[in-house]
Structure formats: C-alpha cells, structure tokens
C-alpha cells in the first residue's frame, strides 16, 4: 500500500476585500496552476433563466474595460497559457495553466475578467447563440441526453434540478444586462477563493495576488443557503432516440451532501458497487454477462445534497436485463453489505488512487479550492486514509439501506422508446419523453 499524501507547504490569507487566497509551493514542471472558484453555481439560476450562471462564467473572458475578448485570448495564449471556465451546481470556476514566469501577466488578466468583466453586447449575443447551438449538438450524444434527463427527473423542482449548462429556450432569452446583474450580485470577493500551485515562491506570489486583486471590491454576504433536495421518486423515464442501437441506462437513488458525515462511507460503498474493474456492477454486467463495455456507480455530492447514480449502457435488446441485473446487485448489497475481503481491497485501492491523484499542480489546485468551497477540514487530504479505514461493513450497509436505491429506484433510459418501454414496464409506469424536452 502506498505512503500517505501530505499537503505541500501552504500560505493562506483572507484579503481585506474578503477574497481567500491559497498558495501552495511544490516542485515539478515549471507551470503554475491557478484556480478561482466563486460560489455562483447553476443552483442560483433564476426560474426561467436556466443557464445564466453558466453563461456569466463563460462570457467573463469575452472582454473587460481595458481588453477585448480577442485581446484576452491572444494575450494569454501568447504566453503559453490556457484558460477554461465553467460552472457546476455550487460554483463557477476559472482554471488556468501557465508557465510560472508568466504569472505576473496572467494574474493581471484574471483579476480583470473575474472582478470587472464588461460583457460586451455583441460578444454576449454570439456566445449565447453558440451555447444554444452547442446544446443541439449535445442532443446527438446519447450519454449526455441520459444524464440531462436523469438530473431533471431526480431533483424535480429543486435548484439542482436542471443541467448546469442550462436549457436552450432559457439561454436564448438572456441578455447582457442579465449577466451583468448576476455577476454584480454573486461574483463577490467574499464568495471567492483563488488558488495558485506550482514551483513558485509563496510569499512573492501572495504579494502579487494582493496587488493584482486589490482593486476588486464588493459587498460581503449575498449567500443563499439551499434546502436539501427531496429524495428522488421511483419512476421510469424513457427518452426516445429511435435511431440508436444501444440504450444508455441510469438508476438513481438519494445521496448526501459533500460535508455530510456519510461522505466517507459513500466513497467506499460507491467504489465497491461501481468503481474500478472489480466492482460488483462491473463484474455482474461486463465480466459475467458481457452486457456492456462499462458500468459505474457513485455518490455525487453537492453543498445541499446529492444523489446515488448507476450508469451503464447496452444494446437495445438487453436494456431490461441490465436494469434487472443492477437491481439484483444493489438488493444483495443492501441485505448483506460488503464482505471483509471487499473492504480490505477497496481500502487499498482508494488509498493508492488517492496518492496517484495528487501528481499534478492542477489536481492540488482543484483539491485546495474544493476544501475552501465546502469548508472541509484541514486534514481532508492527510486524513483521507484514516477516514476510509474507519468505514466498516455496518456503515456501508446502513448507507445502502437508507440511501443507495430503494427497492424501486428511479430508472432513466435513452434509446428507441418502443422497445425500451416494453422492457422497462416491469420496473414501474413508463413515461416517454422526447429528446428535445431535455434540451
């Protein structure tokens, strides 16, 4: 089993504006990873405006008071930097990788686009139209269609109940003013963490961040605490994609929040059921029956709550069989829990993966930002192994009984409805929807 993972030397500071800054100095390739997370995720999208948080994050780089979008692109890329921005349900994030010597320049650009984006009308309109068109292309990806339908079916009217990228018909109505207002309300220093990781001098980098981001001001507060989502209701939803030869299948049950005490047990249970090649679902579906190329299960956890997901796919004719096999695997786990052999193996596996997952500056930047976003304890990384070791069979079984799919889960499948509806009828009344309804 591998040695544990320890945090690199950190400098953490809260600036007068409320911005939290974390700098981790670690050796390695001479690139710096910068990550900015703002508590301005898609859960804050107003009704009828799904996609606003996403479009705001994407449009921030399309121009500031002093630079056009093209100048930002050109300026960053000339330095060898690459920038990406996006949202999940809880946060907007901007990630950047750049040669360390370029940090003074790239931080100047980042400070402008995070603190003072101009949202030029023409650029916003083009980006919006492109996002709407991208959703049309997404409908040609069966797995994306299934995931979007699953989210909506599982969370219903909760703020988590729409895809972070939004809905085409909502996106199409968004204007520059909507983005500017969303930015002014939610993108505030007090709701933001900036992380820099790489072979950098921590003090000098911290001083640089203070200088670059010193001008960004905003009122503190503005936090919106979400109620936990209700557990998903049992149902069978089929998205009709008549031309496909294969069905994408999801089984969904209730989960828990990222900060929940059940989180570690969720990692262990998810891994035994559907992580790696030796998981129960992978064995039952792929290895023993050749029904699919892959089968996964995991607890997906946000700030307010989460879900348990099983994902797989199989040729249309065996979709019903696949759901039954997955149900049987889950039922057996609910009644008997994991074996000691499985627990020992999964502890070793998770400890090893944990060490492997911290080889890059980006991985550290992401983890440090996540710790701030969810208020995770300082021993989140170094204590991971002890927390996994402490999960026993009883904890997994209790979690499975409470959360990981009741006897009647929510089933979502994307594929030819005529065949799927008859195969899935034994699992509950089938509701057929069109692909366009999930766009």
């Amino acid at each position: 089993m591998s040695r544990g993972v320890a945090l690199p030397p950190l400098r953490r500071e809260r600036l007068a504006s409320g911005l939290t800054v974390v700098v981790a100095s670690r050796p390695g390739v001479p690139l710096a990873a910068v990550r900015i997370v703002v508590r301005a995720g898609s859960a804050l999208d107003p009704a009828g405006r799904f996609g606003l948080a996403h479009l705001t994050a994407a449009a921030a780089r399309r121009g500031t008071r002093t630079r056009s979008g093209a100048e930002i692109d050109e300026g960053l890329e000339a330095l060898g930097a690459s920038l990406g921005a996006g949202v999940d349900e809880d946060a907007a994030s901007v990630g950047l990788s750049a040669p360390v010597e370029a940090l003074p320049k790239v931080l100047m650009v980042l400070a402008e686009l995070v603190g003072a984006p101009a949202f030029p009308t023409r650029e916003v309109a083009r980006l919006r139209d492109r996002e709407v068109a991208a959703l049309a292309h997404d409908l040609d990806e069966p797995d994306v269609v299934a995931d979007r339908a699953a989210l909506v079916a599982a969370y219903a009217d909760h703020p988590y109940g729409h895809p972070s990228e939004g809905r085409a018909r909502h996106l199409a109505t968004l204007r520059r003013g909507d983005l500017a207002a969303f930015h002014a309300r939610h993108w505030r220093p007090s709701r933001t963490t900036l992380v820099v990781v790489g072979p950098v001098d921590a003090e000098a980098t911290l001083a640089l961040v203070r200088r670059r981001f010193g001008a960004w001001r905003g009122e503190p507060g503005g936090d919106v605490e979400l109620a936990p989502p209700p557990p998903p209701r049992p149902a069978v939803v089929v998205v009709d994609l008549p031309e496909l030869t294969q069905a994408q299948v999801r089984l969904i049950g209730p989960g828990h929040a990222r900060g929940s005490a059940a989180y570690a047990a969720g990692v262990v249970t998810g891994s035994i059921l559907g992580g790696g090649f030796t998981s129960r679902l992978m064995q039952a579906i792929r290895v023993e029956r050749g029904l699919s190329y892959g089968a996964r299960a995991r607890f997906a956890s946000g700030r307010a709550g989460g879900l348990f997901f099983v994902s797989s796919f199989t040729k249309v004719e065996t979709a019903g069989q696949l759901v039954q096999v997955a149900q049987d695997v889950l039922a057996s786990f609910r009644s008997q829990g994991p074996s000691e052999e499985e627990l020992v193996r999964v502890r070793g596996y998770l400890a090893g993966l944990h060490a492997l997952s911290f080889e890059t500056h980006e991985a550290w930047a992401e983890k440090l930002a996540e710790m701030e976003l969810y208020g995770l304890p300082a021993d989140e990384v170094s204590g991971f192994r002890a927390r996994i070791e402490a999960v026993d069979a009883a904890a997994c079984r209790a979690l499975a009984e409470q959360r990981a799919l009741g006897e009647r889960p929510l089933v979502v499948a994307a594929g030819p409805a005529r065949s799927l509806a008859s195969q899935l009828a034994p699992f509950g009344p089938v509701r057929v929807v069109t692909a366009r309804s999930v766009a």
């Binding site: 591998s2 390695g28 890329e77 292309h137 072979p199 050749g290 070793g348 090893g352 080889e359 890059t360």
Partner: protein, 429 residues
C-alpha cells in the same frame, strides 16, 4: 526533486534513463523519479490495427481485452483484483500502430505488478468462454463509440476515404462482422507472434531503485522465449488524384463537417512543422479557425484540428460542428480559404511564437506525471525508433520556422488531396 528543465530545450534528463535489452529481446527503460511515491509501468507491444488484414480487423483491440482474463500464476478475474487491492489501477489501449498496457500504483506494489505482467506475457489463458464474453463487450464498445456516435461514424468514413489500400483504412476497433468472426485460433496465432518479449518494451518511471527494478524484471521475464519476427506490413498507398467526398445521413440535430488530409509519417521532419500548423489553425481561442469561423463569422459552434503521429503517414483532421442555419458549403469555403492563406503566406512571427509557447506548455504538462513520462518514452520509441526523442520534442518545435509551416501546409493540406465527410441530418431509413 525538481525535474531539470531548460526553457525551449530538453525537458527530460535523458542520461538518467537506464536502457537495457534482455537476451530474449525485451527492451527495458527505467527512469527513477521520486517526486511522488508512485510508479507508472507501461508495456508497449509494437502491434496495432496496422498489422491486421481484412477478415480479422479489430483483432489487436479484441486481444487487448483478452489480456485481462487470466494466465498461469494468476487465474481469471485475478489481475485487477490483486492490483486494485495493492492500491493500483490498470488499463490498456490499442491504436493503429501499438497496443499499450499500463499500471499506475504506489511504489511498494512494484514486484506484484512485474509478477502480474510477466505472467500474462508468458502464459496467457485463451478460452472460448472468455472470448465470447469479451466479444460481446467489444461489440458494445463499438456501438458506443461508432454506431451510435455521430463523430465516430464520420471518422470511420473519413479514414476509409483517405486510405484506399493501407491498413489505416479500417477502424482500430474493427468492422462489426470481423469482431463477430475472430476465432480462438486467430487469437492464439496473434499471441504467439505479436506478444513475444522480442516485440515488447517496458517503461518504468517513478520512485524506484533502477538497479533493483532492472533485476526484478530480469528475474520475472528473463526465461520467456523470444518470438518470431512480425510479418511485414503492406503499407503501400496509391497517390491521391483529387478530392474525395462522402456523406453520412443520420437523424442528428445539426450538420457537421470532417476534413482529412494524408500527412507525413511521425519520423518525417515535417511532422513537427505540421504540429505548429495545427496550433496556428485550431488550438486555442486565438487560433485562425476559431477566431474566424467561431468568433467573427459565427459559422460553427466548434472547430478542432488534430494530427496524431503514426508510424506510416497518418491523417491531419479538421472537424466542425455547424451553427444552426449555417450552410456546409459556406463553412467549407471559409475553412479552405484560411488553410490556403496559411499555405500561401505562412504564419506571422507572433502566431509562430504563440504556437511554440502553447506546445511547450503542453509538452511540459504531459511530462508532469510518472504516467505521462512513461507514455512519452514509449510513444517516442515505438513511433520514432528511439525513446530519447521524448526529450527532444521542444528542440524540434524550436527549429521549425515560418517557412516550414507554410511549406507543409501547402504540401499536405492541398485541396486536391483532401477528403471531406459531411453529416446530413435526416432519416436513416
């Protein structure tokens, strides 16, 4: 330990690599690197879809699946069970040219991994039940990646247009009929010829003592017999005499376009110049095609270019997802105009500097993990004939001038040498 890096020059300390060859022909390259307590162990077999023939297309990939089904010391289902319990994980991939197996794990598991890998190289079990089960899994993989994937369908069609005779004309996963047809005997013949130590190389990078690691590999693999030489590949390809076109009809939401040109082989000095051209054209928001087609003219939702290095001349690809209302002909015109302009005038000094800077960051990024280092060494040796090339990539990019980019674009991305696949949304039946 900080990895030695010189700006714009070598990014790997090549003298630190310990390279040996066992008496059975197995090549071993070890790089001790202790920045994290992990090891990446990669076994590269010099065989891919390039070495197949019609009737058994896809056998390299199907066989890759068979390698996880048990050998002599470790029986069925034991490979992953043992490895995962030790904190490691494993996977494999097959390309047109190669089949690669890798394990990433904590340094303490090294002996277990050497034991597992040498066991299956020496004494793989090939039984009918495992073959039938993996055949079904691979058919699902094909449905996922090709039959139900717009881009998968287009890419398969494009490769068959670009290549008329060369084995690159069939997909790595193989034709569905061939996947169904491959027999256990085919697999046995394949294993005997292609999976001998003399056709393999091991790349071991991480927190290890190189002498002890080399001794371990010698102990476990040393007694395996060398194999016969691989049959030669029929790599001929007739010259292209004009544009080739195909249309895919599929009930998609929106049109798309895929264009390919036959490029140079990986070993050609032109390959590096074509990488620079790729970045000028479509890597990053400030690249020509993104700036013009996406931002200025709003004709496409996305545009991407790729040039994957291969043993024999491979394909330079450009793909576009169209904006609603945009016409394929209009997108083609704008795309081809820009390619022609780059071929006629070459990149500006600023574009060239930008491309070099982005490529430098990408190369450094790739070499930032033990896994990335092991893969880079393996790819360099398999495609270029020398693992040392993994440390020379940036030198090659630095040596490319604007005139080189202009020349390779004019030569390879010639309108008469292109193949075009368009996706026409519509009913299939």
């Amino acid at each position: 330990m900080t990895r030695p890096v010189t700006v714009g020059a070598r990014v790997l300390e090549l003298d630190a690599v310990r390279a040996t060859t066992l008496s059975n022909g197995l090549r071993l390259r070890i790089l001790a690197e202790a920045s994290s307590p992990t090891v990446s162990y990669s076994t590269v077999f010099q065989v891919g879809s390039r070495n197949e023939r019609p009737g058994i297309t896809g056998i390299s990939h199907l066989f890759e699946h068979m390698m996880f089904n048990g050998a002599a010391r470790y029986g069925p289902k034991e490979f992953d069970r043992v490895l995962e319990g030790k904190g490691g994980h494993s996977n494999a991939f097959t390309s047109n040219d190669l089949t690669v197996y890798y394990e990433d794990f904590g340094a303490e598991a090294l002996e277990t991994v050497v034991d597992l890998e040498s066991d299956r190289m020496g004494a793989l079990r090939l039984d009918d039940a495992a073959l039938e089960q993996e055949r079904e899994v691979v058919k699902e993989e094909r449905r996922l990646r090709t039959d139900d994937s717009v881009f998968g369908l287009m890419e398969e069609q494009l490769e068959s247009l670009v290549f008329q005779a060369h084995p690159y004309r069939w997909p790595v996963i193989g034709w569905m009929d061939d996947i169904q047809r491959i027999s256990r005997q085919d697999c046995q013949d394949f294993f005997r010829t292609c999976y001998a130590p003399s056709n393999a190389a091991i790349y071991l990078v991480g927190d290890v003592d190189p002498d002890a690691a080399a001794a371990l590999v010698e102990r476990f693999y040393g007694a395996l017999p060398a194999g016969p030489p691989l049959p030669p590949v029929a790599a001929g390809e007739p010259d292209q005499r004009g544009e080739r076109r195909a249309e895919i009809r599929f009930p998609a939401q929106a049109p798309a376009l895929l264009v390919g040109w036959r490029g140079p082989a990986a070993r050609s000095p032109d390959a590096a110049a074509l990488d620079l051209a790729q970045v000028c054209l479509a890597v990053g928001e400030a690249s020509r095609l993104r700036r013009i087609l996406v931002h200025e003219k709003a004709l496409v939702v996305s545009v991407q270019a790729s040039f994957a290095w291969r043993i024999d001349p491979g394909v330079f690809l450009v793909s576009c997802e169209l904006a609603p209302g945009a016409k394929v002909a209009g997108v083609e015109r704008a795309l081809f105009d820009e390619v022609a302009r780059l071929g006629a005038r070459g990149p500006t000094a600023r574009e060239l500097a930008r491309a070099r800077a982005l490529l430098r960051s990408a190369v450094l990024h790739d070499l930032g993990t033990h896994h990335g280092l092991a893969q880079a060494l393996g790819q360099a040796e398999a495609l270029l004939g020398d693992w040392r090339e993994a440390g020379r990539t940036l030198e090659h990019y630095e040596a490319v001038g604007a005139a080189d980019v202009k020349r390779v674009v004019a030569r390879y991305l010639d309108p008469a040498l292109r193949s075009v696949v368009t996706l026409v949304p519509g009913a299939t039946r």
